[in-house]
């Protein structure tokens, strides 16, 4: 076969332009980061990263489509509204990470160019994952998103816990990837197909639904993805890694990884393996309930805010999984909606943690928030709103999000999952309210005998003088996202419109 016979696949450059923007940005930022000088690392590199992410968001708006799918590169990527919606979420999370880490230790120690380039690389991985439409690109996406994160977790080179977090994430993440890969191989072995659409067609046609090879593969895929989305009982890495990693990276990891992981959850289970719903439905709903219970109970004895938010993210993963389990269009919409809500409220909370960590000698301990209501109401209010939203109080976004998820589970004949969400929310009050109490209700010692109160050096920024200056951008992030939490809670129509558009993806759903 001569070279002339090979036809290059047709590439719809318009459809994948957001991906190109972040990938290109990643390379450019790395190159620019090689130049010396404070101007480059403090201004130029973050600015270029932000521009790259903003461009990607702009391009998503440009190519935004409903219903119709653009298969790109011979069906290895599929750009539909779900992929585009998740792309926006990941890019927003990336922007937040850029803002929060603007004057962070980690950036200085790891090098601005490398840090931001890795961040953009991870975002690109998420976009690939969200657009993946066959087993191979799925795995490429997972690895592309994970490997930069392993490094980013360890970027605070002089803090032991940061290195530990990086190593832990690497080891456990690799186990998850290996499990996933094994599962993908088995699914391919059983169906003889790698494309999601082809797998869906093959099921029940050439492959019997009860094929043990196939079911083993599905189970391993579920396990591998559960590692990535920190769904219990595959969540053990989450608290340690969230606590150890630099907080801006934790923020990014918590919201963006979850969005990407749930995008692929939806695509592979509700789309490719939709016909097997009777088989994986009970298993995933069990995982959902276990996550809700373990996540919420695990968060109760935590002193560290980052650990608490990590456990809470395990619980939130459980809530999100209910939207996947029902396997309906409403479930897809509710999951997409809740992912956006989850991003908004968590960013507000993490931004406050970043702000306190830089100046308080209590680090991310809950006592760092003591009396914040009187001293810094502009930080205390965002945290309060975020906590109320996470707990599901009206009129915040969290309430609407939970309402939507319960609606989806009841409509999909999974009423008991709706009840599980409700019970989980009640348990979660125990730790969310404690944070609010610490800020507003005067000095009182929170009784958590398991972990002693500790004193740490403030995780300072560029220099002690810069610490005070480092607050404005963090403050802006906190206030903006807290305001968004309230706005979405009171006027959710725009987000519902977006969710409805996202809901036009995955054509096989009822």
């Amino acid at each position: 076969m001569s070279l002339a016979d090979v036809t290059a696949p047709v590439i719809d450059y318009k459809a994948i332009s957001p991906l190109l923007a972040t990938l290109g940005g990643s390379i450019v930022v790395l190159m620019v980061g090689l130049f010396r000088g404070p101007l480059v690392r403090r201004v130029l590199v973050p600015a270029l990263t932000a521009v790259s992410l903003l461009t990607a968001i702009g391009l998503v708006i440009w190519v935004w489509r409903r219903g119709d799918i653009a298969p790109v590169i011979r069906g290895s990527l599929e750009v539909d509204s779900l992929a585009l919606g998740i792309t926006v979420l990941c890019c927003v999370a990336g922007l937040v990470a850029v803002a929060l880490s603007w004057r962070d230790n980690a950036v200085r120690e790891a090098g601005a160019g490398e840090y931001h380039s890795l961040l953009l690389g991870s975002v690109s991985g998420m976009i690939v994952l969200a657009e993946a439409s066959n087993l191979v690109t799925l795995f490429v996406g997972i690895e592309l998103l994970s490997i930069p994160l392993y490094v980013l977790c360890a970027t605070e080179l002089r803090r032991r816990t940061s290195l530990e977090a990086g190593l832990k994430y690497l080891v456990i993440g690799s186990v998850g990837s290996a499990t996933l890969l094994y599962g993908l191989a088995l699914v391919y072995g059983a169906t003889g197909q790698t494309g999601f659409a082809q797998i869906s067609d093959a099921l029940g046609d050439t492959v019997p639904l009860g094929d043990p090879l196939l079911l083993t593969g599905v189970a391993l895929v579920a396990t591998g993805l559960a590692f990535k989305a920190s769904v219990a009982p595959f969540h053990q890495w989450t608290p340690d890694v969230y606590q150890g990693a630099p907080t801006p990276i934790t923020t990014f990891m918590a919201v963006a990884t979850k969005a990407a992981a749930f995008a692929i959850f939806l695509r592979i289970f509700d789309h490719a393996l939709g016909l097997l719903q009777l088989d994986w439905g009970p298993a995933l709903s069990a995982l959902a309930v276990i996550s809700i219970v373990i996540g919420n109970v695990g968060a109760i004895p935590q002193r560290s805010l980052k650990r608490m938010l990590a456990w809470s993210s395990v619980a939130q993963a459980g809530y999100l999984l209910t939207g996947v389990v029902v396997g309906t269009r409403l479930g897809l919409q509710a999951t997409a909606f809740y992912l956006a809500v989850y991003l908004i409220m968590n960013v507000a909370a993490f931004a406050v943690v970043v702000a306190r960590e830089r100046v308080s000698n209590r680090g991310d301990d809950i006592s760092a928030l003591e009396n914040l209501g009187q001293e810094q109401p502009w930080l205390a209010w965002p945290m309060t709103i975020a906590m109320l939203s996470l707990a599901g109080f009206p009129p915040t976004a969290g309430f609407i999000g939970k309402f939507y998820l319960i609606d989806a589970s009841v409509s999909g004949d999974y009423t008991w999952l709706g009840i599980a969400i409700v019970v989980g929310s009640v348990i979660s009050l125990a730790y969310y309210l404690r944070v609010i109490a610490a800020m507003w209700m005067g000095r009182y010692e929170i009784e958590l005998p398991t972990v002693p109160r500790r004193t740490v050096k403030p995780a300072s920024g560029w220099s002690p003088e810069a610490d005070a200056l480092a607050q404005p951008e963090v403050l802006v992030v906190a206030v903006v996202f807290a305001a968004l939490t309230l706005i979405v809670g009171i006027w959710p129509d725009p987000l519902f419109d977006a969710a409805r558009d996202v809901g036009t993806a995955l054509s096989n759903l009822s």
Binding site: I400, V410, T415, G418, L429
Partner: protein, 502 residues
């Protein structure tokens, strides 16, 4: 379509938000003005209200979240007219109290108070189930802050317990409400939570039962009634007095109101299914509350437990499924609120004269130097124990008559509660106002501020005792309409039973 209800609803919140940003202590005037403005608005509404109509008046009906079928739907009928009045009336003295006292972080306190008024008003006005739940949950937020921020003793523990208890109930209700909305939606129809639509569509008998149970948990916790009152002791001990007055006087009514507004009309078969159980719970609450009220030393706990008994009475009246019982319940909801709010404010005044002590063991002999206080307290006491001539007497008699018609035994047991009320209230009055002067007591009469907050409320009690017809004539039509579905279900059940019998 009118905008009046929206103005009433959001006036306090707007004032609270703006007031929080005004410099110094000037914001308090704005909040106070809004509270008084709401009261004025409600008084005008009382006068303007068309008393003969059973349907909703001043309706506002707008889309809010079409995706979830939630509408911004407000309305007033005889059922909630006086609940709105009670809210408006009660908030004025409590806001006054907060405005003119040296209060730590006063602006925040007033903001929370204003937010709470909006939330409570919203819960009473809402004619959409989801909107009701939004306001029902929203009520918790300001009270969480008010108790935790300005309470005494183990306040954080108390307020956390209060929120967890109440929210467990209301989240279960949320699940039940979503299930109700989904199940009622016909195939291909658009989901809706509007109460009128839900009532028209109906839900299958079997599923009604467990949904009613979910709602009942939420309302029983809020009221609170016997097995779900666990949050009461700690919360009542820690809550600052004006907040407690609102908590006990107004918030507790939202629960029982929910039965009349939502459960009975929308799920009549389910209500009938649990009628016996709920009546037993109500009667048990009456006895339990009365006995515990009798055994308390702390004055505020006496009133707290007497509230459990009173709310038991109201629930009994509702679930008798008789016109008189329901009317009595609605009247008693108003009466209890109007009595409890001044009672707690009086308790605050008493504690202020006894170095903060509220124990009857340390009180006594206050009347000699504080005759006005004693007189007001006496009037409120008489109203609480349902002395003939008080409006509470009318309410309780109506409830008991309603119960006697079909559930004679329960009615007789419940009457014991009336007697016990006389015993524990008179005991409290004697041991605080008369007897030997207590060791901690430094009695002096009411100051201008206390008088301004307490006296009008007591005057209102007296006025209502003279002319309870003012209330009954306005609530009659709506109340009868609300219990009608349940009465029909009961009648149908009896007919079916007779047909089955040989």
């Amino acid at each position: 379509m009118t905008i009046h209800l929206s103005i009433i609803l959001f006036m306090p919140l707007a004032a609270g938000v703006i007031g929080a940003f005004l410099p110094g202590r000037s914001g308090r005037w704005l909040v106070l003005a809004a509270t008084v403005g709401v009261l004025a608005y409600v008084i005008v509404m009382l006068a303007d209200f068309d008393r003969g109509r059973a349907g909703l008046q001043y309706v506002t009906n707008d889309r809010w979240i079409p995706e979830l079928g939630i509408r911004y739907q407000l309305g007033v009928d005889g059922l909630n007219l006086f609940m709105l009045a009670l809210t408006a009336i009660s908030w004025v003295p409590c806001t006054l109290w907060a405005c003119f006292r040296e209060l730590d972080r006063q602006r925040l306190f007033l903001f929370n108070l204003a937010l709470a008024e909006t939330a409570v008003m919203g819960a009473f006005m809402a004619q959409d189930l989801a909107l009701f739940i939004v306001f029902f949950d929203l009520m918790l937020v300001p009270f969480y802050f008010l108790i935790g921020g300005w309470g005494t003793g183990e306040r954080v523990r108390a307020t956390t317990k209060f929120v967890i208890y109440t929210l467990s109930g209301s989240l279960l209700m949320l699940a039940g409400a979503v299930a109700l909305g989904v199940l009622a939606t016909p195939d291909g129809g658009q989901i809706s939570f509007s109460l009128a639509v839900l009532q028209e569509r109906g839900v299958p008998d079997g599923t009604q039962n467990w949904i009613v149970l979910l709602f009942a948990v939420a309302f029983f916790v809020k009221a609170p009634l016997f097995p779900l009152h666990g949050w009461i002791p700690e919360t009542y001990r820690s809550t600052p007095i004006p907040v407690l007055a609102l908590l006990s006087g107004v918030l507790s009514k939202v629960g029982v109101y929910g039965f009349l507004r939502i459960v009975l009309p929308v799920m009549p078969d389910g209500s009938l299914h649990w009628q016996e159980l709920f009546i037993v719970i109500a009667v048990f609450s009456i006895l339990y509350g009365s006995v515990l009220a009798f055994s308390q030393d702390n004055v505020r706990m006496v009133v707290a437990y007497s509230s459990i008994a009173q709310l038991g009475f109201i629930t009994l009246g509702i679930f008798a499924f008789e016109q008189k019982g329901a009317q009595g319940a609605v009247l008693q909801m108003l009466n209890h609120g109007l009595v409890v709010v001044p009672l707690f404010l009086i308790i605050g005044a008493i504690a202020a004269r006894a170095r903060g002590s509220e124990s009857v063991l340390e009180l006594g002999g206050m009347a000699f130097r504080a005759p006005v206080l004693a007189a007001l307290f006496l009037l409120a006491t008489f109203a609480t124990l349902a002395m003939p001539g008080s409006s509470n007497f009318v309410g309780e008699i109506l409830i008991l008559f309603g119960t006697f018609e079909d559930k004679l035994v329960y009615g007789l047991v419940a009457s014991v509660g009336v007697i016990l009320a006389a015993v524990y209230m008179i005991r409290v009055f004697q041991r605080t106002m008369h007897n030997r002067v207590g060791p901690a007591v430094e009695s002096h009469d009411l100051g201008g501020l206390d008088l301004a907050t307490i006296a009008p409320l007591v005057a209102l009690i007296v006025a209502l005792g003279v002319y309870p017809q003012f209330v009954v004539s306005r609530t009659d039509a709506a109340t009868t309409a609300k219990i009608q579905p349940a009465r029909q279900a009961a009648a149908a059940g009896q007919t079916a039973a007779r047909a089955e019998a040989p």
